[in-house]
């Protein structure tokens, strides 16, 4: 086992024992043919104060001693594949993602270990111990800790849990598989640790759909900051994929100028829907509702209605399919029935006979409390929103309503301090 911080600056000698230079960097290749830990591919050796030159790694060098003996002649030059990571230049002291703990951490040291014959990058030291080692105080503090019969706390993450943060100057194409496999809410937790720019660069690595899912989990204010760092077209693509109500929230947080640009680049029908929602004040039912729901007319049969649900749910991207709203040709809200009503009913009768004729509803300007109260009291999954002429204009779903209460709970800060 060896720490990068202790390897840097070590003497490098050739097989005959001739001094060549000092170690400036260690290069690994992240695509290690299915191996869980990447192997060393080259060393950067600094000769006589010049720029470090790359020497290929032989495979059997020993890193445990106080000098490194090269196995290949130092005149062989290393053929770069363009995907190497320079551990000192690109990883040491930089921020990386711990995909297991869903957080951003700073690299204090890197641990290389011998697996089989060869050295590989196994762990990333992110704890105080790594900092002490870098400062040259590890032995002292270990001694002090020993006197107190304690161990210095070591904190590290395995390479298999590590994900690099894309950066302008890190030219490696690291497979971002680990990140993509995470749940949107977990990726959002990671992004919250980042500055808007960094978060933006990470978002760009995801597909538009996944990016939209992640965005929806973030605070609208931060969403706007992140979106504003992206190229306008990409921002528009992501906003398009978001639920219209979430999209309206984030657009409202953006600068007027940037908002207009994003708007212009969105698909017309998507932007029309968002434009409709954005008109409503955020603190009322209108600002909370979505326009993705299912409707039928009262004159069709149960079988026809069921068919409509099958067809419309995916094409309209309905947020919920458990409630189907019955409206007339002018979109006046007439009634509602649930999916179970539909499934259990005789397929040949008209939906008019199974629907609830006086559906619960809220006006556009209903307060958040009124919406929440209704949903809680009647155990609803969603509540329809109507304008003053009883036109159905949207629905508020339970999970959007839930978001209103939960953040308050999370904001109980500063426990047991004073």
């Amino acid at each position: 086992m060896a720490y990068l911080s202790e390897l840097l600056g070590r003497e490098v000698r050739d097989a005959k024992g001739m001094f060549i230079g000092t170690l400036a960097d260690v290069l690994i290749s992240p695509d290690s043919n299915g191996q869980p830990y990447p192997r060393i591919v080259a060393l950067a050796v600094k000769r006589n104060g010049g720029e470090p030159s790359l020497v290929p790694w032989g495979g059997t060098e020993d890193l445990a001693g106080n000098k490194i003996i090269l196995q290949l002649p130092p005149t062989t030059s290393y053929q770069s594949t363009g995907v190497e990571v320079h551990l000192n230049r690109d990883v040491m002291d930089k921020q990386v993602i711990d995909t297991n703990g869903f957080r951003v951490v700073r690299v204090n040291d890197l641990e290389l270990a011998k697996i089989g014959d060869d050295y590989r990058l196994v762990n990333v030291d992110i704890g105080g111990r790594g900092l002490l080692r870098r400062l040259g105080w590890e032995d002292f503090f270990e001694h002090v800790a020993g006197l107190l019969r304690r161990e210095l706390p070591a904190q590290s993450i395995a390479y298999s849990d590590l994900e690099f943060i894309p950066r302008g100057d890190l030219k490696v194409r690291v497979a971002r598989q680990k990140l993509r496999e995470l749940h949107a809410a977990d990726i959002a937790t990671i992004l919250e640790d980042m500055r808007p720019r960094q978060a933006g660069e990470l978002i760009r690595q995801l597909s538009d759909e996944q990016a939209a899912d992640v965005m929806e989990e973030l605070e609208p204010e931060f969403q706007a900051d992140v979106l504003e760092t992206l190229p306008t077209e990409q921002a528009a693509d992501i906003v398009e994929e978001m639920e219209p109500d979430e999209a309206a929230d984030v657009l409202q947080e953006m600068d007027e100028d940037k908002r207009a640009q994003v708007f212009n680049l969105m698909e017309p029908d998507e932007s029309a829907e968002v434009a409709e929602l954005i008109k409503h004040p955020e603190d009322a039912a209108g600002g909370l509702m979505t326009t993705k729901y299912l409707t039928v007319t009262p004159d069709i049969t149960v079988a026809e209605a069921l068919q409509r649900v099958r067809v419309d749910a995916p094409t309209k991207e309905a947020e919920i399919i458990y409630y189907v709203y019955v409206v007339d040709a002018d979109e006046h809200l007439l009634g509602v029935f649930s999916l179970s009503d539909l499934v259990l009913a005789d397929p040949t009768i008209s939906v008019d006979t199974i629907m609830h004729h006086k559906p619960l509803r809220v006006p556009l300007d209903a307060t958040h409390e009124e919406v929440l109260e209704l949903i809680a009291k009647y155990n609803l999954l969603a509540v329809p929103v109507v304008d003053h002429e009883n036109h159905l204009v949207g629905i508020v779903t339970t999970d959007d309503a839930l978001d209103l209460i939960l953040p308050e709970e999370w904001k109980i800060k500063l426990p047991r301090l004073f």
């Binding site: 900092l131 500055r195 760092t229 500063l414 426990p415």
Partner: protein, 420 residues
């Protein structure tokens, strides 16, 4: 697109500007803190208008340095401590942070000294004012979120106009004032040299670069916002120096003219009372209070940012205690210690202020050189590295500042070294 950009309506451009301003103006205003006001008051009271000419140069230096800090922020999207850690490693970072922690604690103490002094002018005991302000400032950050905090601070910036009013009410001879802005003069006596160096030391302080860059980055500003952010920085710097000039003018027109001596900003406010009337004195004290509160909130905040950023702990005003324990602990401890030290009877507050300026002096060269190395790093800045002329100007500024701070540090330890 480029044509569209040119003819973009004025209203849109104004809105854009308003959405970007903040970091530069706030930073520059915190700069006129209790220590700064004391220095400018003493400068005016003892040397009349004769130091005004150097404020013009200070403004130039301030603009150069704060512009670089803003550029580092918009190009890299990272804070200064972040960049220092990534480019220079643990040892350099740890040394800078250690000095910074002590220096900023000393600075915070002097801000609370300003709170105590200004409230005493209004007849409020420091045992009431200091704990109340400390608690208020702490709650503002811990319970608020960054945007609302920033708005409050922006509004607070307007209170600095009270100094401009004080200055005007003191009825200075405007012809002579204008003349002294363009007439360089220099006296070789210890007091003059000290005040000369101290003016620069309090106006260009090391925490400013950290704070400004962090707030730019947290705002998510990018190179596209740079043109507007530069306006923010320049306007902020000029406004800060304008306020400094009016403090000097107010004291020069009254206290200097009557031949009194003062040692603190409180003395200045009290001396203004009979000379310029109760309103001028009251405005002066209000300005001092605002400056002290403003800075007492931002200094600990900036420090907490820097510490977390450097060592990779979670940070940010918009997070809560559980997510960012180190951030809130550093912030809280600085306020508690800063306010606490004032409440204990200590020999001399002037000594504390002096100590904080000396530590700032040690830190400033380190930070400025680091900044220049970072901003000229092609890997980091790409095409946005310093231009040749700007770089020359920046290095000249830095070398002069370093020379002056060396003088300041030496004179504060050995007051008689120059034997002037």
């Amino acid at each position: 697109m480029s044509i569209l950009r040119k003819f973009r309506p004025l209203r849109t451009r104004l809105l854009l500007l308003l959405s970007v301003v903040g970091p530069g103006i706030i930073t520059a205003n915190v700069d006129n803190d209790a220590g700064g006001i004391t220095t400018y008051s003493v400068a005016g009271a003892h040397y009349g208008y004769s130091l005004l000419w150097m404020l013009a140069l200070v403004a130039l230096a301030l603009v150069i340095i704060q512009e670089m800090s803003a550029r580092l922020g918009v190009v890299t999207g990272k804070g200064l401590a972040d960049l220092i850690r990534e480019s220079f490693g643990v040892r350099t970072t740890a040394s800078i942070i250690a000095v910074m922690l002590i220096a900023n604690l000393a600075n915070t103490v002097s801000e609370f000294a300003g709170v105590a002094a200004s409230m005493e002018i209004f007849g409020v005991s420091k045992y009431i004012s200091v704990p109340l302000v400390a608690l208020g400032v702490w709650l503002l950050i811990v319970k608020g979120n960054y945007k609302s905090v920033e708005r409050i601070f922006l509004v607070a910036s307007a209170i600095y106009f009270s100094y401009v009013l004080s200055g005007v009410m003191a009825k200075p001879p405007w012809g002579e004032v204008a003349q002294s802005f363009i007439t360089p003069s220099f006296h070789f006596d210890v007091g003059y040299v000290t005040i000369f160096v101290t003016i620069i030391g309090t106006t260009i302080a090391p925490w400013m670069q950290f704070y400004q860059q962090a707030s730019i980055v947290d705002k998510g500003l990018t190179i596209k916002d740079y043109a507007y952010e530069r306006v923010d920085v320049i306007v902020g710097s000029l406004f800060a120096v304008l306020v400094a000039a009016f403090i000097t003018i107010a004291c020069a027109a009254t206290i200097f003219a009557s031949g009194q001596r003062i040692d603190t900003a409180k003395d200045a406010a009290l001396a203004l009372f009979p000379l310029a009337g109760p309103y001028a004195a009251g405005l002066f004290a209000l300005g001092l209070l605002n400056a002290s509160v403003f800075s007492a909130a931002i200094l600990p905040l900036s420090t907490a940012y820097v510490v977390c950023e450097a060592f990779g702990w979670e940070s940010g005003v918009s997070r809560d205690w559980k997510d960012a324990p180190v951030f809130f602990w550093v912030y809280t401890l600085l306020i508690v210690l800063g306010a606490g030290i004032i409440l204990f009877p200590i020999k001399s507050l002037i000594e504390t202020m002096l100590a904080s300026q000396t530590l700032n002096g040690v830190l400033l060269p380190l930070i400025l050189i680091t900044m220049l190395r970072l901003i000229n790093d092609k890997r980091l800045m790409g095409q946005y590295v310093n231009g040749r002329i700007f770089n020359l100007l920046a290095w000249i500024t830095v070398v002069i500042l370093i020379g002056l701070t060396v003088i300041l540090v030496v004179t504060s330890f050995f007051p008689s070294v120059f034997g002037l």
